[in-house]
Subunit: 134 residues, 4 copies
């Protein structure tokens, strides 16, 4: 199964609300199971450079079906996936990208958030993921 636009919008909305709650304007990207962009929102005054990063975080999370930050633990100098970031037109391997799963545990896409600290990005992305569970 693939993510629907209705689901993507609910996820984006929940993420946006969390971003407002913590007072950090964010870029919020959702990709589908094919890792292609499904929905995107750039909040007013969010960093312009985070546009591309939010999309790359979502793609990274779907490319490897794990949180983007997990890749970063393996891609450090001396690590098994050193500099994997140059593949796929550019990966982002720090937190803020999370796979999205349907009720049966199947991955149907991913969310990527960028605009604050990586902890804030992950927090906002998690709020989006939680909306899918409702």
């Amino acid at each position: 199964m693939n993510i629907t636009l209705e689901q993507a919008e609910a996820i984006s909305l929940a993420a946006k609300q969390k971003a407002k709650e913590i007072g950090v304007p964010m870029n919020i990207a959702i990709v589908d199971e094919g890792a292609n962009l499904k929905a995107f929102h750039r909040m007013d005054k969010a960093w312009l450079g985070s546009l591309d990063i939010s999309i790359k975080k979502a793609k990274t999370a779907r490319f490897f079906d794990m949180p983007s930050g997990d890749i970063g633990t393996l891609s450090q100098p001396g690590g098994p996936l050193y500099n994997i970031e140059v593949s796929n037109g550019g990966l982002i391997s720090f937190p803020g990208g999370i796979p999205l799963k349907d009720g049966s545990g199947e991955i149907i896409g991913a969310i990527g958030v960028s605009g604050g600290s990586v902890e804030q990005d992950h927090q906002v992305a998690s709020a989006g993921v939680a909306a899918l569970m409702l």
Copy 2:
């Protein structure tokens, strides 16, 4: 002035409603005055290849402050702007991209729609533009 996310969402919503009304799933992209993506929505079952086209239509409309299709009348073989499409990382010069203006006539961004015939794309983009006027 630059387009706000609230404006972009209202424009996208109006375009989506028009797309549903005519029964053609669309990709709907909004860029800001700097031609950077502000919002994007891909409706379920919309052509995947139209994702990139909708974004390029929006950028093209903002790049030259005119409907994307106007470029296409000039870029044909023998025309004054032949093959201008190879510039700017790829332009789309057929209809579906329209500049967005605020109340004072200043361009604040652009919308790009792709997923149906070029007439349908332009119709849906126009519905988005109209929402900004409300």
Copy 3:
């Protein structure tokens, strides 16, 4: 010999003055003999998409040591250089790019102008070329 920044600035200034004179805000790019950007100016309210086009016109003129529009006469459907525009990261083959020569006739760079009609672009580029002759 290669173009100097002093020469490039004099050429840009003359082109800018001509653009003001005809009332069309322009993007003005100068490349050196290696076809690498030497100077660039985007006038206020000039088309954003003409940024890239002005640079590509200058490069095209230096790549082939002829006005950019000359390439366009050869690149049409059925012509000997059909679709040459896809090479070199994107050529622009309509008028507005002109090689720059020193007193001995050696090519030292090129100018590319974009922002109006191709006739206006060529006119403004020619004003830049003329400044080099002084």
Copy 4:
């Protein structure tokens, strides 16, 4: 508000004068608030490879509204933004890029300088920033 060409030229000129003063030929790039190139000057004998770096520094500073070098402190191995440089078509995360603010503190663009040591690049960029304050 967006940077004007007149402002960009004054900034470039001040940077160029500082570069001459310290005897290091520089590439000097100015982008607007949309991170699109507004003005560029490559001084004679400046490193050719610094052309692209100066533009990327300016973009990086505007993308994240902070000096480019601030990104570099976070993008090191083990750091929170490790390898962020692969995003946005290539970031430069060492010093030489600085945001440009108008009198009210709004960011209207950024300057990027490359051609010497990163300390020299930052020094020349700072001279450009100071010219905007006059």
